[in-house]
């Protein structure tokens, strides 16, 4: 990163790492007592969302603003945590996560909460919709980017590749795909090998590079490198499910973690110890 670029970026790496920690705290706070949930995804995506929400993106409803698309609705716990950290969501609402009648649902519903652009839950819908939004921006001459968070399991859906091929062909430069590669899915460890990811995406006409997705500095460097390219951009972020909480990281690779009532205090303690 050149000094000039560094100067324009909100937050230093150290500050953003602290914000990622706050996002993890929010995630644990939301998951505690629920017995089970997508706490693993929430913890693994904290650095990515800290980088996007607290530095890289200019989110809002203005004509020139960026848009954020969360493709896998199952990660909504991380989205709510990050939005609260970025002061886009009242942190007091986090306690209603998953409660009957709450808008802070275990997935996402477009428009139910300001800033939620996509209904998630059915996987691999995000990139096709984001491609349409990128075309919309191009048609209207709007400069904003469409940042799309995609999970690696979604790559098994055909619609993902329809959109990847299309975006590469159309050189949809407004598209920024951040791919969370935690190599975990509902049945456990990745059931279909997807590597080599970087080579695949480059072959489809995308700018692509990979970084440690739990290292804020590496993510920021990747986002900086991507920025100038005129192709659609994919940043492959290699993450560790439940990062920051050894108790959960050592558990069987689980997409949907089960946590006993007596374990939540340990989860909270380990999160603070590992800081």
């Amino acid at each position: 990163m050149t000094p000039a670029q560094a100067a324009t970026r909100a937050g230093t790496a150290a500050e953003l790492a602290a914000r990622a920690h706050n996002i993890r705290r929010n995630v644990v706070r939301m998951a505690t007592g629920k017995g089970e949930g997508y706490v693993g995804q929430g913890l693994d995506a904290a650095e990515i969302l800290a980088a996007l929400f607290c530095s890289e993106l200019r989110l809002g409803t203005g004509r020139d603003d960026d848009r954020f698309i969360l493709s896998p609705g199952h990660y909504s716990i991380a989205l709510w945590a990050a939005m609260a950290e970025a002061v886009m969501l009242d942190a007091g609402l986090l306690d209603s996560y998953g409660a009957d009648g709450s808008d802070i649902i275990m997935s996402t519903h477009r428009g139910a909460v300001a800033g939620v652009e996509l209904t998630g839950g059915s996987l691999a819908h995000g990139l096709p919709v984001a491609a349409g939004m990128a075309i919309g921006n191009a048609l209207a001459g709007r400069p904003g980017r469409i940042a799309t968070f995609v999970s690696d399991g979604e790559l098994q859906e055909g619609s993902q590749w329809e959109a990847i091929m299309f975006a590469g062909h159309r050189r949809l430069s407004a598209l920024l795909m951040v791919l969370d590669v935690n190599r975990t899915q509902a049945d456990g460890p990745l059931v279909i090998e997807h590597e080599p990811l970087v080579e695949k995406l480059r072959a489809f006409g995308w700018w692509c590079d990979d970084v440690d997705g739990n290292d804020v500095s590496a993510i920021l460097a990747g986002l900086d490198a991507a920025r100038a390219d005129e192709r659609p951009k994919a940043l492959v972020c290699r993450t560790r499910l439940a990062n920051g909480v050894p108790l959960l990281m050592q558990r069987d690779r689980a997409h949907f973690v089960r946590v006993g009532d007596d374990e939540w205090q340990t989860v909270a303690d380990q999160l603070e110890e590992g800081r």
């Binding site: 477009r110 209904t119 059915s122 096709p128 491609a131 939004m133 619609s159 329809e162 091929m165």
Partner: protein, 325 residues
């Protein structure tokens, strides 16, 4: 290519330019006054009457290739960006291959996406993979979806305009030809969303017909009249919202209905009529002309129609069974 040689337009590269069909005419009429209209297709511009639009508005056209999920996803993204996308492909591919995207990205949050579906029912000669005999059932059951099944070129053009001007997701079945099926009555009033139209009054039996079965229904009613039987014909072009009133009124007056549709008799017009009658508590016997829980055969339109009983004779026979049984 030499510098002086004219570069062919996108539309020309796609093949033979044809005169605009009724869909293109309606689309162009609206696109002229509304800059938010964009067209998206899945390698079907030529076969869904999009070329006149492509020629006129090349920058407002997107071809996603043979990828129907992406077609609907991209269309939804455009709608979420303030545009009104018209997404075209064949009925079978829109509804069988992209159903989840239609339900979640178009209907759930009421996005302004217009799905224009070619080759409805037995309009394809290419067998069961291309004959959309179940598309209306898939679309009717999706909450908030408006479902339109025009009956002739005049109706098609008018319905296109109404669909584009309607706020919300619309599934519009497409009839391609400018002269086929023959225009029933160009002097009749324009298409009105949600309203069935009484083409003919009658007291002995009522024929409720849609799509390419409206003309056979009228022909059947004329033959019945020659036999001294008074048959009414109700043309239904909007499957949802359905005109329960018109159907209930006809059933109350005749006590006997025949439904005639270019679709399976399960989930389409026949089902909509039955639901309306049950809901209103109107008792009537209702016979169904359409695809009888079977896939279609390959062949020319008359052959397929004959094979599956989507003909004037079938409508006549159904009426006579009700009148004598």
């Amino acid at each position: 290519m030499s510098a002086t040689e004219r570069r062919p337009s996108t539309a020309e590269q796609m093949g033979r330019m044809t005169a605009p069909g009724p869909f293109a005419a309606g689309l162009l009429a609206v696109a002229e006054r509304r800059a938010d209209i964009v067209a998206v297709t899945a390698d079907s511009a030529k076969y869904t009457d999009l070329l006149p639009f492509v020629e006129r508005y090349p920058d407002r056209f997107v071809d996603v290739g043979i990828a129907e999920q992406n077609l609907i996803g991209v269309a939804a993204g455009l709608a979420m960006s303030g545009y009104t996308p018209v997404a075209t492909t064949f009925a079978v591919f829109a509804t069988r291959r992209a159903l989840d995207f239609i339900a979640i990205q178009c209907a759930l949050t009421h996005e302004n996406v217009k799905i224009v579906a070619g080759l409805p029912g037995i309009c394809s000669t290419f067998g069961p993979t291309h004959q959309g005999i179940d598309d209306l059932a898939h679309m009717r059951v999706i909450p908030g979806m408006t479902v339109i099944d025009p009956c002739d070129p005049f109706d098609m053009e008018q319905a296109t305009i109404a669909a584009l001007d309607h706020d919300g997701p619309v599934y519009l079945r497409q009839l391609l030809g400018r002269h086929e099926p023959p225009v029933l009555d160009p002097a009749r009033h324009p298409f009105v969303l949600g309203k069935a139209r009484r083409l003919r009054d009658g007291t002995d039996v009522g024929i409720v017909a849609s799509s390419i079965m409206v003309a056979p229904a009228v022909a059947a009613a004329e033959q019945l009249a020659a036999d001294g039987v008074s048959a009414a014909v109700l043309q239904v072009s909007t499957l949802k919202p359905f005109d329960d009133d018109a159907v209930a009124e006809l059933a109350a007056a005749t006590g006997r209905l025949v439904t005639a549709e270019n679709h399976a008799v399960i989930g389409g017009l026949h089902s909509a009529v039955a639901e309306a009658l049950v809901g209103r508590g109107v008792a009537a016997r209702v016979a169904a002309v359409g695809m009888q829980d079977e896939f279609g055969v390959f062949g020319t339109r008359p052959y397929v129609a004959e094979h599956h009983g989507l003909t004037t004779d079938s409508v006549l026979a159904a009426c006579r069974r009700l009148l004598t049984g």
